[in-house]
């Protein structure tokens, strides 16, 4: 028991060490010192503009709130959307400080454009079928999506959730013709929760976040596919200190715990 605790602490310390200035964000630091955190060299303050994949909405919104609480005087402003669209926005000079993508492809696009450097993977996500609570088409597995007359909503192919879903269909050896290819994963989810489609292929985390509004149908591991989420601070950031602090927070044990609670797995 003691040893387990010690090793956990060690992991926390190592993780803290990895993130250059994330000390005040870790649970250890907060639990032991009631007085305002460990004095770090540059003060973390001001606004951090975070461009994040739509699928990160719930997890990052929660992370943002706790980050603001840990660093009084900071404000985290999110722009959630399709990773591919966000990448284009950043490459054309949108004022972002941090980019969290739902695929390495969209992140690479930004890195290639010179708008991000040294991205680090912080989470992984797998796919799940979302159906309306009453499951009108009686979807029980992936192969049901290929049945004629079943209305399926997918993400468009350029978006990570679209390409990951395509990988799933490839593994399952089925052809799925959707009725709509939505802009991002949350748009797919809303078409499902409104009952306009019989099923949508979304992330495991989306089904969890939607609660009662949709029902999940599990995709077995042998045909399931995953996507990796990288995060990077952007060199053009006007608030590099806070941007780094937020990125470190996402990569910290606290951040990992919040992401795990939302259904993400470690990269």
């Amino acid at each position: 028991m003691n040893r387990a605790f010690l090793s956990l602490t060690a992991v926390a310390l190592v993780l803290t060490g990895c993130g250059s200035s994330g000390a005040p964000g870790t649970s250890a630091a907060r639990a032991t010192s009631a007085s305002p955190g460990v004095p770090s060299a540059p003060a973390v303050s001001g606004t951090v503009n975070v461009f994040a994949a739509a699928s990160l909405k719930e997890a990052f919104t929660a992370l943002g709130t706790s980050f603001e609480a840990a660093h009084p005087g900071t404000k985290v402003v999110f722009n959630f959307g399709p990773s591919s669209g966000l990448a284009t926005q950043i490459a054309s000079g949108a004022p972002a400080d941090v980019f969290a993508s739902a695929s390495t492809k969209s992140m690479d696009q930004v890195v290639k454009a010179g708008a991000a450097a040294a991205p680090r993977d912080f989470a992984k996500n797998t796919m799940e079928i979302a159906v309306p609570p009453k499951n009108p088409a009686g979807i029980a597995g992936v192969s049901d999506l290929a049945k004629p007359g079943v209305k399926v909503a997918l993400c468009q192919a350029a978006v990570p959730c679209g390409s990951t879903a395509a990988t799933v269909f490839g593994k399952a050896r089925i052809m799925v013709t959707p009725v709509t290819q939505e802009v991002d994963v949350k748009a797919v989810l809303s078409k499902v929760s409104l009952g306009e489609v019989d099923a949508g292929v979304v992330y495991v985390t989306d089904v969890l976040a939607a609660g009662e509004k949709v029902k999940g149908v599990v995709i077995p591991a042998d045909v399931n596919a995953s996507t990796t989420y990288p995060i990077a601070t952007l060199p053009k950031s006007t608030n590099a200190v806070a941007a780094q602090a937020f990125t470190d927070y996402v990569l910290s044990t606290d951040g990992g715990a919040a992401l795990a609670a939302a259904g993400f797995v470690k990269p």
């Binding site: 990448a87 909503a153 959707p178 939505e182 409104l194």
Partner: protein, 265 residues
């Protein structure tokens, strides 16, 4: 003489800024256009499909708006009913409503679970979202008020004397409407149709919300432009150029008749 010829600078300077503001983005589109790759982009099935769907959808929306909107404009202009002012305000609401909100409203009304769509689905098995008909519905919803408001103004301004003369000569009310009133408002009818068509052609928010996005079925040009921007910006610019050309063609094609019609009584 000079006072008559010279334009006051407090007006000309902002006017120049306004003109530049409206034209510079179009210049940007022309300058950045991948002219060399244009034929390749334009020959792709997706683009041909999207363009066809856009023209088809906008035309259908305009025809429906004419068939239903002109009578509505007439009622709004001529009815003396007390509630008519409220009705006018309500039916022109889509003019100011954000199109995405219009799309959500359409889903809640005509979607599979919508208050009307639910019964339509139960009775006939027909559902509108994610179909080409859904595109036309979304475009008509957003564009029809432009026609209604334009034509209604013309109905109000039209000289009632001609109608009364026709009526005293024994024409029925319907004959008066089709033979006298409609020709009187002809120029406005054309102007309203052009506005309606242009609005339908450019419609994005209500379409993607209500009709979704699927190439060949519901992906109109504006949707194709928006989605291409995420994966292939060059293609997006090329598509935008096509839409710009179509818009210019529509304006140019109607400009002569429009001006001509506007200058004659």
């Amino acid at each position: 003489m000079q006072a008559r010829g010279a334009l006051p600078w407090p007006l000309t300077v902002p006017a120049a800024v306004a003109a530049a503001f409206l034209l510079v983005p179009l210049v940007g589109l022309l300058v950045r256009a991948p002219w060399r790759g244009l034929p390749r982009v334009l020959a792709t099935t997706e683009v041909v499909q999207a363009l066809r769907l856009s023209l088809l959808g906008a035309t259908a929306a305009t025809v429906i708006s004419l068939a239903l909107g002109v009578p509505l404009a007439w009622v709004l202009a001529r009815s003396r009913h007390r509630g008519i002012a409220v009705l006018r305000a309500l039916v022109t609401l889509p003019l100011v409503l954000p199109p995405v909100v219009g799309g959500v409203a359409l889903l809640l009304a005509f979607g599979r679970q919508g208050i009307v769509g639910r019964h339509l689905d139960a009775a006939t098995g027909i559902t509108l979202p994610f179909t080409t008909v859904g595109v036309v519905v979304a475009e008509t919803f957003v564009a029809m008020p432009f026609l209604v408001i334009t034509v209604e103004g013309a109905f109000r301004a039209a000289d009632r004397g001609y109608e009364e003369a026709a009526a005293t000569l024994g024409a029925s009310r319907l004959a008066v409407f089709t033979r006298v009133t409609l020709p009187l408002v002809g120029p406005s009818l054309l102007a309203g149709s052009v506005l309606c068509f242009a609005r339908a052609l450019g419609e994005f928010g209500a379409t993607i919300t209500f009709a979704g996005n699927f190439p060949g079925r519901t992906q109109t040009m504006p949707l194709a432009v928006y989605l291409a921007l995420e994966s292939d910006p060059e293609a997006a610019i090329a598509l935008s150029l096509v839409l710009l050309l179509v818009s210019v063609a529509v304006l140019a094609g109607l400009r002569d008749r429009w001006l001509h019609a506007g200058s004659t009584p």
